[in-house]
Subunit: 238 residues, 6 copies
């Protein structure tokens, strides 16, 4: 049994507060255990240069942590004047994950900004960010309302971490588990069970193929439950 | 009457959630109407160079807004690689305001970081930040517990804005009022009614001395009510 | 009596050299005691984005100190790659102070740059900068000459510091006084005696309302004399 | 058949020039088709703060492209003043991949810098960098020679890309293939066939589990051949 | 005799590999002894603002060293976020040297980027860069082909260093010589023997006029041989 | 005859105001015609890392222009967050020029900062900076007073520009001449007539050897007169 009483394949308690903020078109507070992330989706009337003339829109993700979100205070990236490598990596992951299910072909040359700000970090902030941001995105797109068009989001997307800790495969690692994990994997999947991203890393020693398979299976289980929660909140995608 | 039904000398509804975060020594979520700020206080084991060898501690403030905190999304300062002038100004104000009532002479060469992160901005974010940060600071200092010593905070500190809108003096401006204000003033005062900071600015046209006096009086009223709330939450300062 | 023989309500010797520089439209060297600031006003043919299409002009202030202007050499902000918080604060103050008496409605979408470069710093550099910059601004606007139009500057503007040192209220603090001041206030006023900015800070301990009133009165006296000097140099505003 | 005549599961021609540079302890030029990367390994006498007092060493990777390495010239990151997200991501991948097989426990508090500079980029630069850097690393560690100790590198490490292009699984994508890929995966594995990193991304549309399995199998084949080449060059790891 | 057996007025072995890279319009690897520089020339469809409306093109140089190019690893300027003074100086020198013989009057408002990346640094990197870049530039301009026009390059340009070491005048210093040089001079000359740049620096003690004359003579000799090599590779300039 | 009535080999009127500033150990305002530069010399108690343990001091130069120093306002480098290439180049030149005559072997591990701030720029700012900075340096070193030691400055140093304008060799170019110059050269020489720096650049077309010789002769003449002025102000170097 895990420190918080969960079984190996169990998610932490998940809670999503829809429309957590007043101004953005879509927003959500997602909590997975003690991890809390504010996600929002806003439209800005400009698109990256490579879309000039295509009429297509873009979606981009940003991610940050409050300095006091972690056990040891982390300095503000705005004061250091640079965004660190970890932040960059997560921002790119968030953007790719949501773009994989979204068709912004008819959106006009505009950009959807997905902002994920971690209020409290107890492991799994990037995966929580993706799961929560999906809710904000769908709400935004519904409010932007595009008449008779097909709804531009093809499927649910959520994400979960899975790892090997003391030789055992655990789903949805908290910070203490993550720090001791031998293998760490983040999986982003659709409601239909297809992969969007698979990122597995041997933190301590390389892992064999069967371990990889078992982790993928555990992740798929978790994704199924997160999809269920998203569907409960959002209903069908239209 | 004001758009939200308040009288000219009335504060918006104020709500302070103590210990809003899990990790920092002290924290609070403060809401004044739709303005919401997460404040936290953390100790770090290093002090600025000019305190080397004095045994004294330091207190410093940082302030930021989530991109989606405002009606129009504001770009992240970490991505621009620079902290803007407005942010700098507010950070310095927060630091000075709390230092004015705090004696860190026996604190050791450590730094208290006050982080104020605006989740939602509807005017008066810097004054809300000061009022909320005071709660986080007192909680931190109590937990750092310094035995038989005198408690290092001498008095309550809170802050409020006051302005002239359409010729009328209004307390605690929301964003819509602030945008139209002819004069804008931020006042930081102690529980005992002494001034810590007075910053008044003619946004449109210079103002006469009696206007200044009337604004100061209105601010003092508001401060009295904020002190009351702080006292309710924190009890006596010891 | 003060170290330099002045009474408490007396300004240091003030000297303004008009047209100190060859190239800018307006310029002045202002000396208040040992504080020396070069102020200049230049027009650039572009305005900030928020004025696009309004036909209005803008005025912005910049402030810097030579490294050798202070008793201890201060590193160059250009080499640190960032403008510090104090500089930002002063730049914003200079801009607001001059904009408060200037109507750039008919100026076209152009920007007036006010540059204040401190050659020698012995306290009160920001207030000297405002007083000197006003002279540069008026000269620039006269040379830009706008025929039968109303002259765009409505009133004189100058600034002075006032503080409490060893319990006594002193006008126009030099650096040694400023370092020991319990309260420090900068006041920007018009020739007509209206307030443009009031910024008072308790450096050591909060101050009571009567102290604030006495400081404001002392400042108003000083402003009167600075206005007199500006009028002597510039004549009537037209 | 692919544009360059390869079969779907075939690597491009690989060529590794050992000791390509004069100064670093280890270096290699690796060419995979038209992709050319200079890899080097150097020791610097300082380690990151978190290793202070442990006697352990660290290994870190850096990655850059010459501006003229790509079909369209890419601006220099040194002039933009920032390292982009893609670079950050690759640097972290290189570091993790080599650390996974290296035990720097007895290395002393020093840092091995792995520099991977892409001279010419025709797809697969990050995987070529890892494969080539491994050669530079082993040469460096041999020259640093640690007497009777166990050789600190436990196994060979190499990397390869695999993707889905027009529905077909292709190994070792060149740039043209990579641009059209529906799924893109980078796999880092040991000589013993264990995973170090698996990073799969749905570039266009999410992919099903059997596709993932087939890609992993193709990658393992490629890794086998790269390990063979490394072994040929380096001999046994000791 | 010098450490490597050369006479005082002898160049190191020079080798130029034309078209070293696949993508840029012109490129060359130049080796002078152990100094190795990759030079490339690429056209980009934009010109600096001051050429707007002139129809003229621009040429600009960039210079960098791989971290492992030097005996002691040098940190990457992209990570430091700034280009150092030495780099700036060399970049400007490269640009000026090539512009001095090139007439981009009919080139259109485009920019030729000359990239010089030092793979290995054993003294004389900036002069090698100029000599090699000239080859890349000519190849680029020939491929950009401008029909019946006069070829836009008027003369060959190359560069060489010369210095005083232990009182003796030496041509083409390697790093060991350069470190001990009392005087260090870089000379850029045309095939016709005219000066483009002369930069002489007293590293230790000022030098007399006859020393200057003797250095200029030695440099001219070296330039003659480099011109010969360029002519051999490129043929006549047309 | 030149626009301002000078002969080709004549300097502009030179004026040096010694001890122009109150705080630094040495300072001077130098004016050459309309070019005006404030130079100062200050000691700071730290030296660059490469002098650790040597007991030697260092000297470094910094250079900047006020935004309003030029006919067209130039943006502040502190706001751009970077020092440009031209500034870097000049800073390095100032430092090298003064170090060439100064022996800081017995100075202790301290740094002399030479700050050259251009108040007004009408050509020749870098050469004026060197000539003026020399005065500030000598005054600083005298005040730092090192008992019976040999005075650490071996000879006077000054600098002057020379160029070819409309085919004629002119000494000490003003801005208008400099803009039209075909060849531009800066020469730094000692009082004893030895070269410290020679930097000649073909701005338009390469120049022949006799032109170089004639420019060097003209420069030597100018240096002679500047040395005379420095000697008049400073007396013998001791």
């Amino acid at each position: 049994m895990r420190r918080d009483g969960r079984g190996p394949g169990e998610l932490r308690e998940v809670r999503i507060v829809r429309d957590f903020l007043k101004y953005p078109g879509g927003s959500a507070l997602i909590e997975m255990g003690d991890t809390r992330v504010i996600c929002s989706a806003t439209v800005v009337d400009e698109a990256p240069p490579f879309l000039k003339g295509t009429g297509r829109g873009w979606l981009t993700g940003e991610y940050a942590m409050l300095p006091a979100a972690t056990a040891v205070r982390s300095p503000r990236e705005s004061l250091r004047g640079r965004v660190g490598g970890r932040t960059h990596e997560i921002q790119r992951l968030i953007g790719r994950s949501l773009r994989a299910v979204t068709d912004l072909g008819g959106f006009g040359e505009r950009t959807i900004h997905i902002d994920c700000d971690v209020i409290q970090a107890d492991g799994g902030t990037r995966t929580a960010a993706i799961t929560g941001a999906f809710v904000a995105l769908v709400d935004l797109l519904r409010r932007e309302g595009r008449g008779g068009d097909v709804f531009p989001v093809a499927d649910y997307v959520s994400a979960v971490s899975v790892g090997v800790v003391d030789g055992e495969i655990l789903l949805d690692l908290d910070y203490a588990e993550d720090s001791r994990a031998e293998v760490d994997m983040n999986v982003v999947m659709t409601g239909g069970g297809r992969f969007v991203e698979v990122q597995g890393t041997a933190e301590r020693s390389p892992f064999a193929a069967p371990v990889l398979q078992a982790m993928l299976a555990a992740a798929a289980e978790g994704i199924g439950r997160l999809t269920g929660l998203q569907r409960e909140i959002l209903g069908d995608l239209r």
